[in-house]
């Protein structure tokens, strides 16, 4: 038997309905792959951004704020460390390099980070893409995504990015008198640091003569020599005034929250998909009921019960399968769009990829649909010719 000729006629007759049904299924089925792809790419992007920041030393307070401020350059208010913390940290030994970090200024909406050359080049491990390192307090090195050229001059403004206020002429009301000349550019890292302007920390101290923080910084980024050193340093640097945290550990905690959100959203998305599959199944029964006349005719022309059952099964499961496959594609597109938006907002490079996991989810939804499609098929073939003739 070959039900495809019959199905071709039925499809020509009601392709609009079939398409609408497949699209509804696609929308409902796109949510869970999108959520799952987003979660994976955010996790990977955030973890990659934190790679250079093994151990962070900051003032006592929220560890999450410390990581968000130092790694992701979020405008979290960070307390200043006591003067001399950097020297104190270095004195512990077992340190490959340690660099201070201070924030609070910006150029347009690009954050200015006061630091030292060690953090900019990861102590020589990550050479500049072009130009050279800053040598004095009038020079700056920019991230790959800052729209400036080497040789340009910039005037920093006071206040974090969130506080930027422009006057009527479009000039920043918080502008400093100080200027920096761009002398070098970092390579693209796919992290929020691509949007940063790095200057010597001494320059920030000079700009704020009111004594806000001369000789002080908010964070000390530490690169320990060995894992044992790392744990020893963390214990030693957690004292009355300071806290030392592994950025990875804090991220794991953040990811825990992310995962819970992910689970909840996945549950909702699966519910939506199940509801859509159920709706498609009900439409299958309606489709059979609508075709009683056609089925009576097929039986009169010599078609077996099996022919009717296979036709109905193919019709319903074909729509379900197409819907789930379309949903997977739609989900990928949605995740790509969302990650592009997040990337432009945060600078965290996100790569969205379709993995076996999502394919398996879509496939199992389609599989459930195909199994469920046996119900209307059975419903169709259970009817005897007499019953069909009566209802036709």
């Amino acid at each position: 038997m070959n039900p495809f000729l019959f199905l071709r006629g039925e499809f020509r007759r009601s392709w609009g309905g079939a398409l609408a049904l497949a699209l509804v299924l696609a929308f409902a089925g796109s949510l869970s792959p999108a959520v799952s792809m987003m979660e994976r790419s955010i996790r990977a992007g955030m973890a990659q951004s934190a790679d250079a920041f093994d151990l962070l030393v900051g003032a006592k307070g929220s560890a999450v704020d410390l990581v968000l401020g130092a790694v992701y350059l979020r405008p979290e208010p960070l307390e200043l460390l006591p003067a001399g913390t950097l020297e104190n940290v270095k004195a512990h030994g077992g340190i490959r390099w340690a660099a201070p970090l201070a924030f609070g200024d910006r150029w347009r909406d690009y954050p200015i980070a006061g630091t030292s050359s060690e953090l900019v080049t990861l102590d020589g491990k990550r050479p500049l893409a072009s130009g050279r390192m800053f040598l004095n307090t009038e020079e700056a090195v920019i991230g790959a995504g800052v729209p400036l050229n080497i040789g340009d001059s910039i005037t920093p403004s006071h206040g974090s990015v969130a506080e930027a206020v422009l006057d009527e002429d479009g000039k920043d009301v918080h502008a400093h008198a100080h200027t920096f000349r761009v002398v070098g550019r970092m390579p693209a890292t796919g992290t929020p640091w691509d949007r940063a302007v790095a200057v010597p920390i001494e320059a920030l101290w000079n700009m704020h003569e009111d004594g806000v923080g001369t000789g002080r910084c908010s964070v000390v980024v530490v690169k320990p020599v060995t894992v044992a050193d790392a744990y020893r340093l963390r214990t030693a640097l957690n004292d009355v005034d300071t806290q030392a945290v592994f950025s990875g550990e804090v991220l794991t905690r953040l990811f825990g929250t992310l995962e819970q959100m992910h689970d909840v959203m996945l549950l909702l998305a699966s519910g939506a998909q199940a509801a859509a599959l159920a709706a498609a199944l009900v439409s299958g029964f309606f489709a059979v009921a609508m075709r009683v006349k056609a089925m009576a005719l097929l039986r009169a022309l010599g078609a077996s019960h099996g022919f009717l059952a296979v036709s109905v099964w193919l019709m319903v499961s074909g729509i379900m399968f197409a819907g789930c496959a379309l949903g997977l594609g739609l989900g990928s597109m949605m995740a790509s769009a969302a990650s592009m938006w997040i990337q432009s907002e945060t600078g965290v490079a996100l790569t969205v990829s379709l993995s076996f996991e999502e394919c398996l989810m879509a496939l199992s939804a389609a599989g459930c649909g195909c199994v469920a499609a046996f119900l209307p098929a059975w419903f169709a073939c259970r009817k005897t010719a007499g019953e069909l003739l009566r209802s036709a």
Partner: protein, 236 residues
């Protein structure tokens, strides 16, 4: 003979709400293979039910000594699946309102019954379908039949009915929804096909012209089969 029709003690009842109603009651009928027979009777007298019974779409009431046979093929004892296959092979059905699939072309409509048995349709059946359509004067064989005139649609339905060279042709008021000239055309071709394919033809009709071409005439009266009277078919 091979295609003779034997009916004995055939009764057919249907559930009518609470009660059962006897629709057909035929103690005895013998029809030699190749006979052309016309059937007429009032609406509700059981004409369509008789055709459904003869092609095995429905079965007579269970009873001792009842018989419904085409040659050696006993429809009552045949399992349902076999009966479907038998109907597909041996019976051609033609309906008053054609019952084509309007979104399939003429050729596809004719070949549709072949898809019940074959995955890919043999070239020989393809050729036969084209020949039949040509012989019945259908030129636009690749156009959906929804746009065809009623006469054309009935001729496509006739080509579909005889695709497998059936031994039995059952037609339920084949000319009732056609105008005079199309009715004449379909009448001629139906009789021609029955003769050239050598099949038994049973036609339910009230057309005198069509009855005039039949070998035998029957009248159904509240489920009982009587021989037809000539004066019933005279124009009033």
């Amino acid at each position: 003979m091979e295609n003779d029709l034997h009916l004995r003690n055939v009764r057919y009842s249907v559930q009518d709400g609470e009660s059962t109603r006897r629709v057909l009651d035929i103690p005895e009928l013998f029809l030699p293979g190749g006979t052309l027979a016309g059937i007429y009777g009032d609406s509700g007298s059981g004409k369509t039910s008789l055709l459904n019974l003869l092609c095995g779409l429905v079965l007579p009431d269970v009873c001792q000594g009842c018989e419904l046979r085409w040659g050696k093929d006993d429809l009552i004892t045949m399992p349902e699946g076999r009966r479907d296959a038998w109907r597909g092979r041996h019976v051609g059905m033609i309906f008053q309102d054609f019952q084509l699939f309007p979104h399939l072309s003429a050729l596809e409509n004719v070949l549709l019954p072949a898809t019940f048995h074959h995955f890919s349709i043999p070239a020989e059946l393809h050729g036969r379908a084209r020949d039949l359509l040509r012989r019945l004067g259908i030129r636009r064989i690749d156009v959906p039949t929804g746009v065809f005139s009623r006469g054309e649609q009935q001729r496509v339905a006739m080509a579909r009915a005889v695709l497998f060279r059936p031994s039995v042709l059952l037609a339920d008021e084949p000319t009732a929804s056609l105008d005079r000239s199309n009715a004449q055309l379909v009448t001629d071709e139906l009789v021609d096909l029955a003769h050239s394919e050598g099949c038994t033809l049973l036609v339910v009709t009230h057309e005198q012209v069509l009855h005039g071409r039949m070998d035998r005439r029957f009248r159904l009266e509240r489920g009982r089969l009587l021989s037809g009277l000539d004066e019933d078919l005279k124009p009033k």
